[in-house]
Symmetry: C2
Subunit: 431 residues, 2 copies
């Protein structure tokens, strides 16, 4: 193992880029010990060069144009930290791979959208495309799927994949606070972005699930028939109700094979209080992999933030330094499969149902009639009158029924005049 030199260019100097820059400067010796390679930060690039930063970067490191990183002869590895699935990030990564540079990126949007083409390009040019930081920050789930668990036939991968959502749900429960209040708190603490839309509506988790599915099932990225729902509609009262019923509400991404067909779904779930995953709180992410022969495997850690992300980026960089050339998606592009997808409508769940109704005669019998017509039967029912008002809240835990039945049932209920708020259901997940 001879000592070598590698040059790296970091494109994008936000929180994460800066943290990585400082880490690599401070830990040059450590990295050399672990890889036998001397790693030099040769170039950097950022949208604004003049912006005030906490560290000084010498003039000769700055590229005139970010795309130079993909062309310079003295660059071996390009780290893309621009973000977004189009524009600069896309251009940089495609060009870098084309020109035979290794690429490390934290960009889940880009990888979930163009991962297939990018991996083909990387394989053709015999370079690495690494994206550990794109899913669950500091949690080495990508590396585990590609290496530690590669012996396994996986049939399900799922988990808590969005730190912001998990922080909000955990705090709504523990602090007995409203969605809006916790969101404001999360923003103040830096756990939610100023525009947290993609964290709250499930899109962020969708990108991650797309990537995990491809890795777990050796398939191409498959964007069809995905169920995506965020935490926007979870009310404090639902959290309270589920608490009474012995559950917690968690937002999950799930990817599973049923009869060799792929179901991908992202939505809030009720999970038994004692279960492992319902005790994963705050900004933590946790991913569970079920496969043979390993059984059930769990991995958990901080899902975001500059520290956790840098941990992932450095593991990718060092993998390249050690000359560990791997297929970006575990197996070659030419061996990856197309898998058929199923939408969630035939899948069977129990449901938590909440109906806010006028408190008058015949309402309950009307509800149960509609439910029974739609094959949704009651396992447990709690009716709470609103104090001093003519409304009541009916909470139902149903027996198991197809997803399409609950959708139809909700639609029919919502048309009834005694229903005062949009009827709501949340799936109950059994682990």
């Amino acid at each position: 193992m001879k000592n070598k030199n590698y040059n790296i260019a970091i494109v994008g100097l936000g929180n994460i880029g800066l943290y990585l820059y400082e880490y690599l400067i401070k830990n040059k010796k450590k990295i050399n010990k672990k890889t036998n390679v001397t790693l030099n930060i040769k170039y950097v690039s950022a949208k604004s060069r003049s912006k005030k930063r906490r560290i000084k970067i010498s003039k000769n490191k700055w590229l005139k144009n970010y795309l130079q990183a993909s062309k310079m002869k003295d660059v071996d590895i390009v780290v893309e930290l621009i973000g977004g699935s189009e524009g600069a990030a896309k251009k940089l990564v495609f060009n870098s791979l084309k020109n035979g540079k290794h690429v490390v990126t934290a960009n889940k949007s880009l990888i979930s959208k163009y991962g297939d083409q990018l991996s083909k390009l990387a394989e053709k040019n015999k370079v690495n495309l690494e994206f550990e930081a794109a899913v669950a920050g500091g949690v080495p789930i990508i590396r585990s799927l590609k290496e530690g668990l590669l012996a396994n036939k996986i049939n399900k991968v799922y988990g808590i994949l969005n730190g912001t959502s998990n922080y909000i749900l955990s705090n709504m429960r523990n602090m007995n606070m409203d969605f809006k209040m916790v969101l404001d708190k999360a923003k103040k603490m830096g756990y939610a972005e100023n525009n947290p839309a993609s964290d709250l509506n499930g899109d962020d988790v969708k990108s991650k699930i797309l990537i995990l599915s491809a890795l777990a099932f050796n398939s191409f990225i498959n964007k069809k028939k995905i169920e995506v729902e965020g935490i926007n509609n979870v009310d404090r009262i639902d959290i309270k109700n589920s608490e009474i019923l012995g559950y917690k509400i968690k937002h999950l991404g799930v990817s599973e094979l049923e009869n060799d067909k792929l179901i991908q779904r992202i939505h809030p779930c009720l999970i038994k209080k004692e279960s492992y995953i319902s005790n994963v709180n705050d900004v933590f992410n946790a991913i569970i992999v079920e496969g043979k022969p390993v059984g059930k495997f769990v991995i958990q850690g901080e899902g975001a933030g500059p520290g956790a992300t840098t941990s992932a980026l450095v593991s990718d960089i060092c993998s390249i330094l050690r000359g560990n050339i791997k297929f970006p998606f575990s197996i070659s592009y030419f061996n990856r499969k197309k898998i058929d997808t199923l939408d969630v409508s035939n899948k069977i769940f129990s449901y938590y149902i909440r109906l806010d109704v006028l408190d008058k005669k015949g309402v309950l019998s009307s509800i149960t009639k509609i439910m029974s017509k739609n094959k949704i039967s009651v396992k447990r029912l709690i009716q709470n009158p609103f104090k001093g008002k003519k409304f009541a809240s009916i909470v139902i835990v149903s027996h198991k029924s197809k997803n399409r039945n609950i959708i139809r049932c909700m639609r029919q209920l919502s048309r009834k005049s005694f229903i005062i708020n949009k009827p709501k259901f949340i799936r109950i997940e059994e682990f």
Copy 2:
């Protein structure tokens, strides 16, 4: 990435060896897809060749003598599944590395005893020595420490590392059963060996902690001043008491740096019921790594059994097939450090204390006097009379105090005539 051929010899055909053999035959194509290497099981060896096995192994695969595996020109990888730190296993692994063979082993005793010398030898001969299966079965903790988390400065690694112990403690609690009864059940279910001594007395966990410490802290294996205690002394009543106090009893292995000194300890602990690790039950293993910048990282899975172990062995084998030569202990032998050790005596804990006493006047005041002399102060105390007898059980949760104080206190108490059973303490661990 050209297609290559590798030959493997499996030495040891117990449960695990057989499972691995079958797996490799069945998954030859899959392995080729993931590594571009065709893997052939060239030779096998086992203590008894004539023993009835569920699979047929062709005659020309059998070695006359197990040590041939280390010598044959057409063997690239030797898988050692003999077990034990001396004798055949030791001879085979040393000789294989000397002769330039890669070695994969599940042997924690061997690695924790001779890991330093073996890694030096492997590095000298530029071959891999892989031992993922030696710690926590299917859980890829070794690979995570060497790759996924390599960016981190780790200060603590700990967890549930023995499936048998965890199965027994979980079931004593959940089934309200005695140690002995659960042990018998565990034997029947195949969760405990016929001679489970090393699982129950902490020795098994000790081997694993020795290996994890070396990997986490980039140090040599350090066997000094280790606190080792098994679960043999945990009674059903202790589990009940801790339940009442809001805790569970778990058996942990802990390795931590305090002021750059290493403390390694293996013992039962009381852990808050709601904490993550107290919800890891049955035969599951879980390991927690605390480091910078990643924060807290958790990995969990089945700790033993042929399936989980094969998952680990195959990940090691494939790492070799991909040409991913790595230092066996993350960094070179010549860069590893000696770390000073501290014994546990200065470490500060709260304690669960159980004293079975004669139920007579002055006992409590005598106890509290001895405790206070030894700087153990009471945070909570419950005295339960034994029905219809002249005995009582006093359960105390103490404030924090040095480990040496509790030892001295227990010793002094045990001399008192009103103490009818050996006084007992269990450390309370805060996470």
